[in-house]
């Protein structure tokens, strides 16, 4: 809707070929400043639509139960209360969930940085038999939707006896095809001469990789870190199928279980929204730290 408005609204020019007269040019300037204002109004109102839900989320987390339903739109609670947070930390396993999420996220992120770069380097530089086949299968793997793999993954986890353990939760997430793909692309953009130089100086393949190439790959590595942090922190399905004991519940799973009303009666919106807001903080922090980078990486990734 806004798109059509904009595209149609961009300076209406006179029919092709004719030169605009001076008077139309003046009126056009007037019109374009009006258009500027309209543009900003549109931009700001869309921004409000996109941000307002999150403000409501935080505000409601500090409201009392009756107020949350009675006045769902005010951004300032009439009575401030931290009851929701207290309940979350005292009467639920919220702290266990957070810890599990943190463990999984840290291990998965480290693992992906290591394995993705190693595999990406192998595919970009080392000449071994079947390299093309491996790369083709990588693409194929990327094409398989993860939801389709839920049952297959469970079967393997169950079969090799790592169900309901950190190993079972983490291992399937340790390598991701997309990450290998990104790293491969990056390594290919580094000139080979640098590595040849290091080889001449007597460094082995792994040493070249570790001390010469990897430091150069910092931008790509940061992309991997951002993607895997966000991916594993927000992952739900994988944890549903790989573990069941309460002590292995992650934040996503735990907060999802809150919606079925485990902690007492009523709708308890402040409690649920407090939990949702808290679990958003790490990814939000990550986002704001690397904001410039996130915007730029996606720009780079399409260029290729």
């Amino acid at each position: 809707m806004s798109k059509t408005g904009l595209a149609a609204g961009v300076i209406q020019t006179s029919p092709a070929g004719q030169h605009p007269s001076r008077s139309t040019r003046r009126s056009r300037r007037h019109r374009s400043s009006v258009l500027q204002i309209v543009l900003y109004v549109v931009l700001v109102s869309i921004a409000v639509i996109y941000i307002f839900p999150f403000l409501i989320q935080v505000a409601t987390a500090f409201k009392t139960n009756p107020e949350a339903t009675a006045n769902p739109i005010s951004l300032l609670p009439a009575t401030w209360t931290t009851a929701a947070f207290q309940k979350l930390f005292v009467h639920s396993d919220f702290s266990i969930w957070s810890m599990n999420s943190a463990i999984v996220t840290v291990v998965v992120t480290c693992g992906r940085v290591f394995f993705d770069s190693l595999a990406g380097y192998a595919l970009a530089r080392l000449h071994f038999r079947g390299r093309d086949a491996v790369f083709a299968s990588l693409i194929a793997v990327m094409a398989v939707p993860s939801v389709v793999l839920l049952i297959p993954k469970f079967l393997v986890i169950n079969q090799i006896g790592i169900y309901d353990s950190y190993t079972g939760m983490i291992l399937p997430l340790l390598v991701d095809a997309a990450g290998v793909f990104i790293m491969k692309g990056f390594f290919e953009s580094i000139p080979v001469s640098v590595e040849e130089q290091a080889h001449i100086d007597g460094a082995g393949t792994f040493r070249v990789f570790w001390s010469v190439v990897l430091p150069m790959a910092q931008p790509a590595l940061i992309t991997i870190i951002i993607l895997s942090f966000q991916g594993s922190w927000n992952e739900l399905a994988q944890f549903i199928i790989s573990a069941q004991s309460p002590s292995l519940t992650t934040l996503t799973k735990g907060v999802a279980s809150l919606t079925s009303g485990q902690l007492g009666q009523g709708t308890q919106y402040p409690l649920k929204l407090a939990a949702a807001a808290l679990m958003t903080i790490p990814v939000a922090a990550m986002f704001f730290i690397f904001q410039r980078r996130i915007m730029n990486t996606s720009e780079g990734s399409v260029k290729g």
């Binding site: 806004s2 798109k3 904009l6 595209a7 609204g9 961009v10 209406q12 020019t13 029919p15 549109v42 931009l43 869309i46 921004a47 996109y50 941000i51 839900p53 999150f54 409501i56 339903t69 009675a70 769902p72 595999a119 299968s137 793997v141 094409a143 398989v144 939707p145 939801v147 389709v148 793999l149 839920l150 049952i151 297959p152 079967l155 291992l171 399937p172 966000q230 927000n234 199928i241 934040l251 996503t252 907060v255 999802a256 919606t259 919106y269 649920k272 929204l273 939990a275 949702a276 958003t280 990814v283 990550m286 986002f287 904001q291 996130i294 915007m295 720009e299 780079g300 399409v302 260029k303």
Partner: protein
């Protein structure tokens, strides 16, 4: 690393393929002696069994099809619109707007679903806003009525013609197939657009920045207006990105799982059931592992087919004469002002 990939991707798929042809009940190993090969029984019961399994699957397919039909075009249009708005040369606070539009994309689907359950509850924020303009909002997540059915209801059409209500496909009546997504599903549709448009906006911004302004400038010199420039010049150049966004959107849409698991578990009246979620419940909750695996494979085939279809539909092919005309003349006139190459001049002659 390759072992890991193999272990968790190739072998699992083969194992699941076996399970989808077996009567494994979830106890012990699916390869133990007690598990029998049952042929295509699982597939048959899902696709034409006439029982609950078929009806659920049909319902899930119906829901997800409507979800996809609405989400993919709208989110692509919104993302492109946002990208064009934000990508203007003179714009104060560009960084702020980009951040604002992208932020919903970083949050987890669980957190956003919890928020949505509140916003769209009967006494929630959305209904409050609707009440300001005199609309009595529905009880979103508890309303199983299709939105097209509702619209027809407003026009006085209460029940469909017999040939639509009598005939069924996959256990779901044609009337129900055509009824549109339920009000509950609509809330999820709005959520999907809200959370994904930011990501795709970034892709479009990147593509727009790589376009370079020469051709657009040439068209401006020719006096092509904004609308013509958008359809004739910008959009064709964005084709590769458009393909990426549509494909990613399509694949994502058929994988709706987290939201349903967190939010409605398929309720009300199975109208938010999706194949992905159905596959999960069939296997993990009802111990119908064969059926669950069969649904997953059918889903996979659906996704592959849609991707292939899209690839075919968006393939570069010679545009029709009617669509060629404004483009050619734009190029011709543009080159007179800018470069003055031979070819476009010929094009100009042929069009005149």
């Amino acid at each position: 690393m390759l072992i890991l990939l193999g272990l968790f991707l190739v072998i699992p798929v083969l194992m699941a393929l076996w399970v989808s042809f077996s009567d494994w009940g979830g106890r012990g190993s699916p390869f133990s002696a007690g598990v029998k090969f049952v042929g295509a029984t699982n597939y048959v019961s899902v696709l034409s069994g006439g029982g609950l399994a078929e009806e659920n699957f049909g319902q899930a397919l119906r829901n997800n099809a409507w979800y996809t039909i609405l989400v993919v075009p709208i989110q692509t249009a919104v993302a492109l619109g946002l990208a064009i708005l934000v990508n203007r040369a003179i714009l104060r606070g560009r960084g702020f707007f980009r951040t604002a539009y992208y932020f919903p994309s970083v949050t987890s689907s669980v957190a956003i679903t919890v928020l949505w359950l509140f916003l769209f509850s009967s006494t929630g924020t959305v209904n409050k806003v609707l009440s300001w303009v005199g609309i009595h909002g529905p009880n979103w997540f508890n309303d199983p009525n299709g939105i097209i059915t509702n619209f027809l209801g407003l026009l006085g059409v209460r029940s469909g013609p017999a040939f639509l209500t009598q005939n069924t496909t996959l256990g779901v009546s044609w009337w129900s197939w055509l009824g549109g997504p339920s009000v509950a599903m609509t809330a999820f549709i709005i959520m999907a657009i809200f959370t994904t448009s930011g990501t795709f906006m970034l892709l479009f911004i990147a593509a727009l920045q790589n376009l370079g302004g020469e051709i657009t400038e040439a068209a401006m010199v020719d006096g092509a207006n904004g609308w013509q420039r958008f359809w004739g010049i910008t959009l064709p150049q964005l084709r590769p990105t458009l393909f990426t966004v549509l494909t990613l959107g399509l694949i994502g849409c058929w994988q709706v799982f987290d939201q349903i698991y967190t939010g409605t578990q398929g309720a009300p009246d199975n109208t938010t059931l999706t194949p992905a979620y159905l596959s999960y419940t069939a296997a993990f909750n009802n111990q119908q592992w064969g059926q669950g695996a069969a649904i997953a494979f059918i889903l996979f085939v659906i996704i592959v087919l849609f991707t292939l279809f899209q690839r075919w539909a968006l393939k570069e092919r010679a545009p029709s004469k009617r669509r060629m005309r404004p483009y050619l003349s734009a190029v011709a006139r543009g080159s007179v002002g800018a470069a003055g190459a031979e070819e476009p001049r010929n094009a100009k002659e042929t069009t005149r």
